[in-house]
Symmetry: C2
Amino acid sequence: MRRITPNNTRTTCKQCSIVCRCLGRNLSAADIEENLGISGCARVLHKQEHLFDMHQPFHSLYIIKSGAIKTFSTTHTGEQQVLGFHQPGEILGLDAVNSRYATTAVALTTTGVCALNKDEVTRAMRRSSAFLEQIMEHYRQELFQEKRMLTVLARKDADQRVATFLLSQIRGCDFFNHSQAELTLPMSRSDIGNYLGLAPETISRVLRRFQEAQLIVVQRNRVNKINSAGLYSMAGESVWLDECSCKQRQCAS
Amino acid sequence: MRRITPNNTRTTCKQCSIVCRCLGRNLSAADIEENLGISGCARVLHKQEHLFDMHQPFHSLYIIKSGAIKTFSTTHTGEQQVLGFHQPGEILGLDAVNSRYATTAVALTTTGVCALNKDEVTRAMRRSSAFLEQIMEHYRQELFQEKRMLTVLARKDADQRVATFLLSQIRGCDFFNHSQAELTLPMSRSDIGNYLGLAPETISRVLRRFQEAQLIVVQRNRVNKINSAGLYSMAGESVWLDECSCKQRQCAS
DNA sequence: CGTTTCCTTGACGATTCTCAATTAGGGTGG
DNA sequence: CCACCCTAATTGAGAATCGTCAAGGAAACG
């Protein structure tokens, strides 16, 4: 276990009070931290450092404050299956089964997280039925997203998968008011391919084709001059539309 | 809306008191009906009849008593994506988002269900923290299963997907003590292919190849002489292993 | 500055899809 | 009870997509 906690002092981390990313849309860190008085424990992960490992006892939830996290499962032959890329505002660990983490979470870059004790969250749920309902709705949203991903893998070709993926990444950035014209991909081509059920070479080729089609400009991990509308029609179906409309609603409120 | 309710009298349906299928393994119908005093409303669906439709207001949960149900989502181009096949003991409707059903559920054959009012279940959750925890664990298990399905779609070839699918169907039957040597598939080849991200022709061809390899004997919707061990190794990875071990545990208790 | 890792690009091959024709089953009506 | 019809399943041939293998190059790291 490579695990370093440079900033492990127990403290209510106000930085956590950012509106949760769309994926956890009606469950915000602010709800957890401020309304319910749960204090978090700040922690910084270096690149490739594990936040938690599959099968490990479940003890904490984590809110991502900065950076990026990849979650994956490991088959008994040792292969990895990337299951998601997570951005600031997202909550990790809620899918722990039988009190053990169902996935491994690893930092793709230097990442700040806020740890929340499992039992404190449980107590808070008992106290506040509104908070409980938010947690439940979060689960339902997660299930909904996984079903969307199933649809992507079952129905879409390589171009559509990559376009869908890029749009999902843009959305996350956009939510924090980054320019939609630029995007940094903290994960490798292998990771993207693994996530989308494609070979890494295919990711390269699709990105090059997108560039030739004037949809993006790619420079290694940087994606510039993004033609969102073009990607959107390339993705074939408004896979993330509901999320985006949801985001707008949340930003307005 | 084709909706017929031959047996719509409000009654506590004791038939619902069957141990929930593995997929909802620690959330049993017995827990809901007997321990918490929630009464269900029996209903019989004819083949192809809809139990609920995507986007419809969420009002009830349903426990499948007999028959088989297919759930799917519809894209805005009108295409269907099959998301699951559900057997007696399973609970449907818990994934409703924003108080609307996230999928459409349709009977694949004559099917008996037990309807549970959403608000009654919510009240029961508030009363019993044990029940609440069961519901939460159910969500986590569902998320875990969806992630497994993602792995199947992202990593496995046609043979492995079909073998995995057949094993998942056997498991459900086995749980109700049917012979493992025979299996009835209530869904069409198109449905299977849609679910697995394959063309219906591919399903036919794979089943024929399995038959030539002495793994099964196929006669339209009937599958006989199933070599579970062979299918298991064909599936490539112990995708449903955890579930099966869970099943054994539950049966023992 | 060298080494390592990741990305890119090409050529080839395999799996799977599409299209089309044929066959089998189930249901209906005479 | 049989004949017919209609849907679903099967099977084949050809094409397209994507994966695999291998080589080269660029960025990052120590």
